[in-house]
């Protein structure tokens, strides 16, 4: 087995474990279904290229998140001045709920994704990490900032999210 083959095999395992995470991060950067598909593929490609650099000094999940956000930010720069909102595509996804429950859940999720996409980049990254269940300390570590700054970013983001989601502050 060549080095490339070993790298591809390891990558397939990592991709299988983190595809959901990548998909959610892609959704936080791109609303258009076709472009989001493309961004998700680009994130997978960026991960394949970055994976040999991972030395285990940070958790793999945090590393994957960071690579995906980096690619997402590049995508934002590349897709300048496009509208943020669009319908969610079912192309990549497999329904897990009944038609009614799925539709309602989908609507709430689309609103949350849309709200996250409207956040400034640094807040967006902190928010997606928080939504993925990372602690403040882990977020601080992943972003290279203090836990206090994480708190500030999340508080600001929370107010913005509530405003977009139409919930009382």
């Amino acid at each position: 087995m060549t080095r490339d083959d070993r790298q591809d095999t390891g990558f397939d395992d990592v991709l299988r474990q983190h595809a959901g995470l990548l998909s959610r991060i892609a959704a936080s950067y791109e609303a258009d279904p076709a472009l989001r598909d493309d961004l998700l593929q680009d994130m997978a490609l960026a991960l394949w290229r970055a994976l040999p650099n991972w030395r285990g000094e940070a958790p793999l999940r945090a590393f994957v998140e960071r690579v995906a956000h980096t690619r997402g930010a590049t995508h934002v720069v590349g897709q300048m001045r496009r509208p943020l909102g669009a319908a969610l595509s079912d192309d990549w996804i497999e329904p897990r709920h009944g038609p009614d429950g799925h539709a309602e859940l989908e609507e709430r999720r689309v609103r949350l994704q849309d709200a996250v996409r409207r956040l400034p980049l640094s807040q967006r990254q902190a928010v997606t990490l928080a939504l993925e269940g990372f602690s403040h300390a882990e977020i601080a570590d992943a972003l290279g900032i203090t836990a206090n700054s994480v708190g500030v970013r999340l508080n600001r983001a929370k107010a913005a999210l509530k405003s977009v989601l139409g919930e009382g502050a």
Partner: protein, 195 residues
């Protein structure tokens, strides 16, 4: 649990409950992109190597003004290759850096890219002028009208290099405009970001 904690945990549940991705399809798509990328790089390297060999061969079999022209063409091609590598560098980056640093880096590259494209644009114009100057004796109608071989070479040069030069100039102008828009966009992104 605090109200604040409740908000994040409710949003987190909704966020993480997103439907599963078709991993096999994603893996296949990523694999296709990897191979396409490798093939494109191989083709580009082969083309560049072929063109360089051709220039070096011309330098060895010609003398005087055509030897100088071959050398200038070789230099021009290397500059062009440098620009293409620079353009692609952002998409090739295997980065674990944070987003803010990446944006700063992208901004620097965009500024450098505009400078590079200007150099490329003007070097193309200079190269065309140099080629025309070097070819003045061959362009005399009295020469190519009586020499079918020379006439064929001139027609081929015009047919092949003409559109190529126009394409390079159009690309440089498009690239400069795109990079300017990119610079403005990155500056917007960097402005309100930090607490």
């Amino acid at each position: 649990m605090s109200g604040q904690g409740n908000d994040w945990s409710q949003w987190g549940e909704l966020w993480r409950d997103q439907p599963a991705v078709d991993v096999s399809r994603l893996a296949r798509a990523a694999s296709r992109k990897r191979w396409r990328m490798r093939v494109m790089v191989a083709l580009e390297l082969l083309t560049s190597a072929g063109a360089c060999v051709q220039c070096i061969r011309l330098m060895s079999i010609t003398t005087g003004r055509w030897q100088v022209w071959s050398l200038a063409t070789l230099a021009f091609m290397l500059i062009l290759q440098w620009l293409y590598l620079h353009v692609r560098r952002g998409t090739w980056q295997a980065s674990g850096d944070d987003v803010h640093s990446l944006l700063q880096l992208t901004l620097q590259r965009a500024v450098a890219g505009v400078r590079l494209a200007r150099v490329n644009l003007w070097s193309t114009v200079v190269w065309v002028m140099l080629t025309v100057l070097v070819s003045v004796p061959e362009l005399e109608p009295a020469r190519w009208q009586v020499d079918p071989k020379l006439k064929l070479i001139l027609v081929l040069q015009l047919a092949v290099n003409g559109p190529l030069i126009l394409a390079i100039i159009a690309f440089c102008i498009w690239y400069i405009r795109r990079q300017r828009a990119r610079i403005s966009s990155i500056e917007d992104l960097l402005k309100p970001d930090l607490p």
